[in-house]
Symmetry: C2
Subunit: 245 residues, 2 copies
């Protein structure tokens, strides 16, 4: 095992049950592993920077694996893209330090969530943005979003099934901007709990519609009560956008 290779990908998660391999369901890790093993003619274990949920997309996703193969990075890049299905693309392959681990060395991530805010659905975004046909005040949502920034116990923004015990995370930035009918929520942080970004977006949408009171995010955080936060916004609007090392 004399090499550690880092891959950077982009994928459309629509047809995948997330990143992580599982029985009876196709995942990005599985198609990537099978392509790499075919090229290298050996078993590999690929570490992903994050588990993404079923239907969630990635504009940038990093992973690494160790190998003793001497196949060049350029050959691996071309080979992977030739073997992978069209909804997964590798855009960088490079040798990295032997002790690098895509998940444990990750310093932070940015997620974005896309909302198509128009009475009329957008056929081109049906798998790529939440359709929200009601009035949406992006400026108000942007102001409210600032209350997420900081180091907090985000237990109220963690899916009920999660087994994580330490629910303290740091959100570095959270903003909402409008570009025509497309509204994008962006969240940067050192790490995220299960469904955290989707619950944050659901909460901002509930504040927008009046189902949750304005300025109550600090109280919801303090409560640690999942039931006080908003719904979990649908997966197909969410993108892992950047990964920081």
């Amino acid at each position: 095992m004399k090499r550690n290779i880092m891959l950077t990908l982009r994928y459309d998660g629509t047809d995948y049950h997330g990143w992580q391999m599982q029985e009876n369901a196709i995942t990005v890790q599985e198609v990537l592993t099978s392509a790499a093993e075919r090229i290298l003619s050996q078993k590999v274990t690929i570490n992903g920077c994050s588990r993404t949920d079923s239907g969630v997309h990635a504009n940038m996703f990093c992973c690494n694996f160790r190998t003793d193969s001497d196949t060049s990075s350029a050959v691996l890049l071309r080979g992977l893209n030739a073997l992978l299905p069209d909804d997964v693309a590798v855009y960088d392959v490079k040798d990295t330090d032997m002790d690098f681990h895509a998940r444990f060395d990750c310093k932070g991530k940015e997620y974005i969530y896309k909302i198509w805010n128009s009475k009329c659905k957008n056929p081109f975004l049906r798998d790529y943005a939440l359709h929200y046909p009601y009035k949406l005040d992006a400026e108000k949502m942007n102001l409210q979003a600032k209350d997420f920034i900081g180091t907090h116990d985000f237990n109220a923004f963690c899916a009920a099934g999660s087994t994580v015990t330490d629910t303290v995370r740091t959100v570095h930035d959270c903003s909402v901007r409008r570009d025509g009918d497309l509204v994008t929520v962006s969240v940067k942080g050192d790490g995220f709990l299960y469904n955290m970004v989707r619950i944050m977006v659901g909460t901002l949408l509930y504040i927008n519609s009046g189902k949750i009171e304005e300025n109550s995010i600090p109280d919801i955080i303090k409560s640690r009560d999942r039931l006080r936060a908003g719904i979990t916004a649908k997966a197909h609007g969410l993108y892992l956008n950047e990964v920081y090392y």
Copy 2:
């Protein structure tokens, strides 16, 4: 037949064999007609502004039909969007003059053609833009594109199988612009021959790569010879973008 109704739609053409009804293949006209007939409980004949090819998209597509139903426009709008598949959306329904015809009264159209110009494929644009992994000089293509402007016999830019006899058309504008890795060709004209925009794009790409000499578009037009123009660029990068009345 006391009303003439105009519909404006947007559709993702990926899964359709174009607009126009045909045997043994699903088309946008067919799904739209069947939804309208279900709502109105009567047969309708929908006139489209244009035939689009298999796989071609529409950001704007206009059509009309006559009916004696008194179903309101608002009910029709909601009903159509409820019944139509997710890749077709109606965004406007209105009563118009009895003699209006979406195709014959069309004064002009704008098509756009999207090119993803990066070594790496883009999973999100696999059905929505041509992947062109080679060097592309958008400024040069933009200058060359100006030679299409004017009233010309575009026979050299018409698919061989076409039965149209008058091949004179007026191109009002043709431009190429780059936004990061996405290059968009835009063409406005009073009307277009079969595959005309796709052959224009294929020709600009051949000039870009040196397969066709720079500044030869006027000569190719003059030749009326399809064989002197470039290839027909793939359908999935093409969008009917606007329709003028």
